[in-house]
């Protein structure tokens, strides 16, 4: 047993932070929070505080990365030094590099990149405070920032994890569950088609548990999607 591991994760049907197994942490999304960026979004999701900014379409540097058929979407996930308990040294680490890559691949299918050949669309995700689930919060913020920048998109991309803790399949793990639980399964979807653009897992799930967790995560994504649309409605008015 790891230092700090709780004996039980669910007591009287409630998780250690008081939620039910299929309940999201409180989620708040705001669009258009920065002056300099072309588009931006701020997400507070439980103890996560995440800022995303979109610049583009803009000139691409270095030039040889330009694509004559479409815009190049570049995504960068980064954690502030004070976003975690033990100060994180600045600069990209291996985890951030992987998350940057899967974030890009989660978003690429919805952006109409062919409209802007030879340009870059850059999305920066900054984790200001972390409490597990930052990649999902980042993808969620990023697609709102893209929309806020006026980049044409097929759909927004909400993301949400499910997982297994103390033998139970639960939605949207917070840090204690993430550190000491049995599995984490982050998912991102394209709501209009229901297709899956991000899927990762680590831990241990039987076939049945996987199917249950996967479906729960997809449901979570749909709840996140509503919050994303609400944030954009709030900023731009109209009925989306």
């Amino acid at each position: 047993m790891k230092v700090g591991e709780p004996e039980e994760f669910i007591i009287d049907g409630r998780r250690l932070d008081g939620r039910r197994v299929d309940e999201l942490r409180p989620l708040k999304i705001e669009a258009g929070v920065l002056k300099r960026a072309d588009g931006s979004a701020y997400v507070e999701w439980g103890g996560n505080k995440v800022l995303a900014a979109c610049y583009g379409p803009r000139e691409i540097h270095p030039r040889h990365e330009a694509n004559p058929q479409r815009a190049v979407l570049r995504t960068y996930y980064s954690m502030a030094p004070f976003s975690v308990y033990e100060r994180k040294r600045p600069g990209p680490d291996r985890r951030s590099m992987e998350i940057s890559k899967v974030t890009r691949q989660a978003l690429e299918s919805v952006v109409f990149t062919h409209l802007y050949p030879m340009t870059a669309i850059d999305v920066f995700i900054e984790i200001l405070q972390a409490q597990a689930g930052t990649r999902c919060a980042g993808i969620t913020a990023a697609s709102v920032a893209l929309a806020d920048a006026g980049i044409p998109m097929k759909d927004l991309v909400p993301a949400c994890a499910a997982g297994k803790v103390g033998g139970h399949i639960v939605l949207d793990l917070f840090d204690i569950e993430d550190n000491y639980g049995e599995a984490d399964l982050p998912v991102a979807i394209v709501p209009r088609t229901g297709e899956v653009s991000l899927l990762q897992m680590d831990g241990n799930l039987t076939q049945e548990e996987f199917e249950q967790a996967f479906k729960l995560a997809v449901k979570g994504c749909m709840q996140v999607y509503e919050k994303q649309k609400e944030a954009l409605r709030k900023r731009y008015g109209g009925s989306e």
């Binding site: 590099m97 299918s109 088609t193 991000l198 990762q200 680590d202 076939q207 996967f214």
Partner: protein, 264 residues
């Protein structure tokens, strides 16, 4: 722009073949390429393996060292998985610090090894809170013809099973030239299975030509009991939810197939 057009033509060719039920190298959709796993091929490593998957060749070395444990795991050894995509192995690999593909490869292989708990990490504790064994897994592709995930995971678990401890001297230093009889405590045999989605078709073990044109990729790690221990979706395309459920079910049998090729 020429490169883009060539890529489109290649893709059309491969998709047309798939539409008529054929793969570019003649395999069935659910068929792996020819596979061999040799172990003990490196005398400097504590454990080693050479995997050939079609024309893809991967060497994996396991080295052991000693050091301090992590403070929150004082009685547990340390596992470090590293990949190098050396430019010898492919014209598309470049010199320099690890890029995101290199890092992803190392992390996805690491995930299956770590999450399956295939190494009994507590047996690697020498003195609690002070001295533990550190296991380095180095993934070293030599010839890149597609599907490094599956080849490297196979190589990693084969090399781990092949590894023996070197002699630990009383002063806490290692005499690498003297190997003991004691094997690394390996208690499970995880493998990873990769599927590619190309023009709506799902195939296993994509070769390089398929990787270059795929829409999406799904890699799943399974332990010996067929439980899922790791997953990684790749590619800029998407899967339907049904495709994912189906792939996860079908992968289990492929995992059994791969596991049979691991010596020992």
């Amino acid at each position: 722009m020429r490169q883009e057009i060539i890529a489109d033509v290649k893709r059309d060719h491969i998709v047309n073949l798939l539409n008529s039920g054929k793969r570019v190298d003649g395999r069935a959709f659910d068929e792996y390429r020819e596979l061999s796993v040799e172990v003990g091929i490196n005398q400097r490593a504590e454990g080693s393996a050479l995997v050939k998957l079609g024309k893809t060749q991967v060497m994996v070395g396991v080295k052991l060292a000693v050091g301090e444990p992590f403070p929150d795991m004082p009685d547990s050894g340390v596992l470090t998985t590293n990949a190098e995509l050396i430019p010898l192995a492919s014209p598309s690999f470049e010199r320099g610090p690890p890029d995101e593909d290199t890092v992803e490869l190392a992390r996805v292989v690491d995930r299956a090894i770590r999450e399956s708990q295939c190494i009994d990490m507590e047996k690697l504790c020498i003195k609690e809170g002070e001295l533990v064994w550190i296991v380095f897994i180095d993934l070293h592709p030599l010839d890149y013809d597609g599907n490094l995930f599956d080849a490297c995971t196979l190589g990693a678990i084969a090399a781990l099973k092949n590894a023996v401890f070197p002699k630990l001297e009383e002063n806490g230093r290692i005499d690498y030239k003297t190997k003991t009889e004691e094997k690394l405590p390996i208690v499970d045999t995880p493998v990873e299975v990769t599927f590619a989605k190309i023009g709506g078709h799902i195939v296993v073990d994509p070769c390089l030509e398929e990787e270059e044109v795929l829409d999406a990729r799904l890699t799943i790690g399974y332990n010996e009991r067929g439980e899922i221990v790791a997953m990684q979706k790749g590619g800029s395309g998407t899967f339907t939810q049904e495709e994912i459920l189906d792939i996860v079910r079908r992968g289990r049998e492929k995992a059994e197939f791969l596991r049979k090729h691991i010596p020992g």
